[in-house]
Amino acid sequence: MIRRLFTSALALALILIVAPTATLAPVAFAAENGGTVEGVLELPPVQSRKAAPKRGEAFVPRAKNPLRPPNGLDPRFEMVVVLEGGPVDDNDKKPQPARYNIIGENFPNQMLPVIVGGKVEIKNLGTRSPRLYSKTLPDVVPNDPINRKGVRATQAITELHKAIDIRDQDSVHFIAYIVAFENAYFAIPDFDGSVKLEGIPSGEWTVKVWYRDAWVTNLPETKISVSSRKAAKFRIALPAKLTTEASAH
């Protein structure tokens, strides 16, 4: 009886330990016993923002909602918040698989960050069976259809800071970008722009923002001090017009 109780307790402990690792949360590739970083990417006022890009048109040109002015461009779904400049745990440099889910017609966020050398696991939680491919790196992902709840892993992403597009052959609007960073200290914003990183080693960090295929260069420098006792917070006001390394070139 005692042995049975011991075995059950051991199994439960094992599950409690392994489960967080297996369930790769998009906001946390963090070192153990690290600090927490919370922040938000704020959009400029609607009036100062560019209009949302024209994404397509059918028979009738899109029209503004008569009750309220439309939202402007919201680039946060294509952004990755990255911490740099702090003490990096060696474990957080090791390539680890990053899992992203397809929900419905696309990923929740179009950016799929991963530690360089790591693979991206894509799980289909939508109703369709997408056939993924990439224009940038054609062999990076299997092309066979992913059934519902199926998983496909990409090749190891070895090139740093290069956006690799992932598309669906049967869908026009399905697109996401895989980008490899040096370590696990990155996070993708929620739909309201909020960001949360956990397990960040204590130290001074610089908050940088990656937009689609390059770093945003016209943001004010944002430095945070991370400790295990208190969450470090930041607030980044996105400019009305973003400038990136790619656009600068």
């Binding site: 028979f59 029209a63 503004k64 939202n71 990923f107």
Partner: protein
């Protein structure tokens, strides 16, 4: 004939032109029909585009009304609350489904295929389709949904798992005008929709996505050709597909269709969606095909110019008849009339002035033949005169020539014998035509010239077949043919004496050819008749003079018998002296002896037609 030939040529040309027109006319009609079909199918394509645009506007309007209804029903608050959670709650889904069902029920007419309520994250809070209870999946990937969540209303075309959909989305706001989410309405593109379009444009409509046909108003299998032809659309400027796109001509079964395709916009358009409008082509119109298409109404008096066609036909025919009458029938009739007059002796030759062209040529040819025969007759008379002595001048040359017997010791008179009718040919050369039809002119009464009775053969009328022939026993035996036609150009040959002298054995005691000497001296006005025939046996004189001494005695006997018979017949004898009678007999005797080589000549006195007559027969 000139005008008739010209006329027939013109009529033939007109007929040829008419036939050519009839054969050629279907081709321009075909081209016109093809051009019209091209215009029709392009117009139908453009109208389809307009109808699809109108349909999209109506759908956007409906979606906006739905968004407004969601806001008024406070369903927008449910969307706001759902947006806050990491997942969409079942409670929010239930509320959303319940309210959506009410909204769908309120829609009159064609109801949407689906309605989605989305939260701010683009996740499905509720679906209107009771058969699809799922929720929580994100639709944010759709550009339409992103636009709606950004505050825009628009339409789109989606190729979903179960087909092509016309969709529209509009943002949903709370009563406080905060963003709450979006509503998406979709209507499938199916056979019913294609059918309604087809009714409006008067053409068939197919919808395709890539190589898949997703909707058609008719199950006509032209998809393979249409899809293949749609590859050229990529090279066209956007929006110009209907106007400048290539018109395909495809065949399904036994029908031909003209097809024009146009790309569809939206996401489905980026996936290769397009629609095709096609109409059935008219069959190629051949001449016979055109005739088969003729209906009874086409031949009605109100549609077809029967009067004009009939009048034209009659005019052509009348003009043709007039030309024929003027140039053929009239001249032929005149020639025939002239020929009849010639045959009846009313004319001696054709009047060439009356006949023109070919008929004049015929008349001239006949006249030449007549002239030749007259010359031959004169020559025959001359021969006879040489044989029998000169004829009295009072009788005239023609009378003497005509009075010659067809056969006799006087010479070859074969030219005057009547040939068989079948030998008569107008077309024959005059020189070779043995007409023999010229009736002998009547001797002038009162002249001393010998009166020659007509040939005992068939009369002229009999020869022509116009008069009934006499019975054989009544007819005088036909003359011995002295000339056999040897073709149109055969020369007229004089037969030898051996040919015309019968075998003496056949008539014992006679040389076979008898000659009668009728008459009296020219001075007394009596005619002397020479004719072929048998003498009366009762008046035969058996004495034959063989030399000059005996001849005088013989001639005396004959003279006495002749005088006696004349007395008996009541004829005057005063002017007939023995010297003259003997001289005549002597001359005839010498001529017959010279001609036939006979030893003597037998003279027979006999009565002929109540008059005394004398016949000479050579004796070998």
């Amino acid at each position: 004939m000139f005008l008739s030939k010209i006329w027939f040529f013109l009529v033939t040309v007109v007929a040829a032109v008419a036939i050519t027109i009839a054969l050629v006319m279907p081709r321009p009609a075909e081209r016109a029909a093809a051009i019209q079909e091209s215009k029709s199918v392009r117009t139908a394509c453009l109208v389809t585009q307009i109808l699809l645009t109108d349909n999209a506007r109506a759908r956007i309007q409906l979606t906006s009304e739905f968004a407004q209804a969601v806001r008024e029903l406070k369903l927008s608050n449910t969307l706001v609350e759902a947006s806050k959670g990491d997942i969409v709650s079942g409670e929010a889904n239930a509320t959303g489904r319940k309210e959506l069902a009410k909204l769908v029920a309120s829609v009159s007419g064609t109801k949407p295929s689906f309605i989605w309520l989305l939260d701010l994250r683009g996740r499905v809070v509720a679906r209107s389709n009771p058969e699809d209870p799922t929720y929580g999946d994100s639709m944010r990937g759709y550009e339409l949904v992103q636009d709606a969540l950004d505050g825009y209303v628009r339409d789109d075309l989606w190729m979903m798992a179960d087909g092509l959909y016309r969709v529209a989305a509009a943002p949903v706001l709370t009563r406080e005008l905060d963003w709450a989410g979006a509503v998406v309405i979709g209507q499938t593109v199916d056979q019913e929709f294609a059918g309604s379009l087809s009714e409006n444009i008067g053409a068939n409509v197919n919808f395709y996505v890539g190589s898949d046909n997703v909707a058609s108003n008719k199950p006509i299998q032209i998809h393979k050709d249409v899809v293949a032809g749609s590859q050229e659309l990529a090279s066209l400027e956007a929006g110009q597909d209907c106007a400048v796109g290539k018109i395909l001509h495809v065949t399904a079964g036994q029908e031909d269709y003209a097809v024009v395709s146009a790309r569809l916009p939206g996401e489905a358009g980026q996936q290769g969606a397009f629609y095709s409008v096609y109409i059935q082509q008219a069959r190629p119109l051949t001449f016979m095909g055109t005739l088969k298409q003729v209906k009874k109404d086409d031949l009605g008096f109100d549609r077809f110019p029967w009067l004009m066609v009939g009048g034209l036909f009659i005019a052509l025919m009348v003009i043709g008849f007039l030309f024929m009458m003027r140039e053929v029938d009239g001249p032929l009739k005149r020639l025939g009339k002239d020929a009849v007059a010639l045959a009846q002796g009313d004319k001696e030759r054709f009047n060439e002035e009356l006949h023109r062209s070919k008929y004049g040529s015929i008349a001239r040819s006949v006249n030449i033949a007549i002239d030749k025969m007259q010359r031959d007759a004169k020559a025959a008379k001359k021969d006879l005169d040489q044989l029998l002595g000169p004829m009295p001048e009072a009788g005239g040359t023609d009378a003497a020539a005509s009075a010659l017997p067809p056969i006799g010791p006087g010479g070859d008179l074969s030219a005057f014998s009547a040939p068989p009718p079948s030998e008569f040919k107008f077309g024959s050369a005059p020189s070779s035509t043995d007409l023999g039809l010229t009736p002998p002119p009547a001797a002038t009464p009162g002249l001393a010239a010998p009166i020659i009775t007509p040939a005992p053969a068939d009369t002229f009328a009999e020869l022509r077949g116009n008069a009934p022939r006499k019975p054989a026993e009544e007819r005088t035996p036909p003359p011995i043919p002295t000339k056999r036609l040897q073709g149109d150009n055969a020369p007229l040959k004089r037969p030898t004496d051996s040919q015309i002298v019968p075998d003496p054995v056949s008539v014992p005691g006679l040389s076979g050819i008898d000659a009668d000497i009728l008459g009296e001296d020219d001075d007394v006005g009596e005619a002397t008749r020479l004719f072929e025939g048998r003498a009366d046996s009762e008046h035969e004189l058996q004495t034959i003079a063989t030399d000059g001494a005996n001849g005088a005695t013989y001639f005396q006997e004959v003279y006495e018998q002749f005088i006696a018979l004349k007395k008996k017949c009541g004829e005057p004898i005063e002017s007939l002296s023995f010297e003259r009678f003997a001289k005549k007999l002597q001359k005839n005797q010498e001529a017959l002896i010279a001609k036939h080589g006979c030893q003597s000549v037998k003279f027979q006195v006999y009565e002929k037609d109540g008059k005394a007559a004398l016949k000479a027969s050579p004796v070998k």
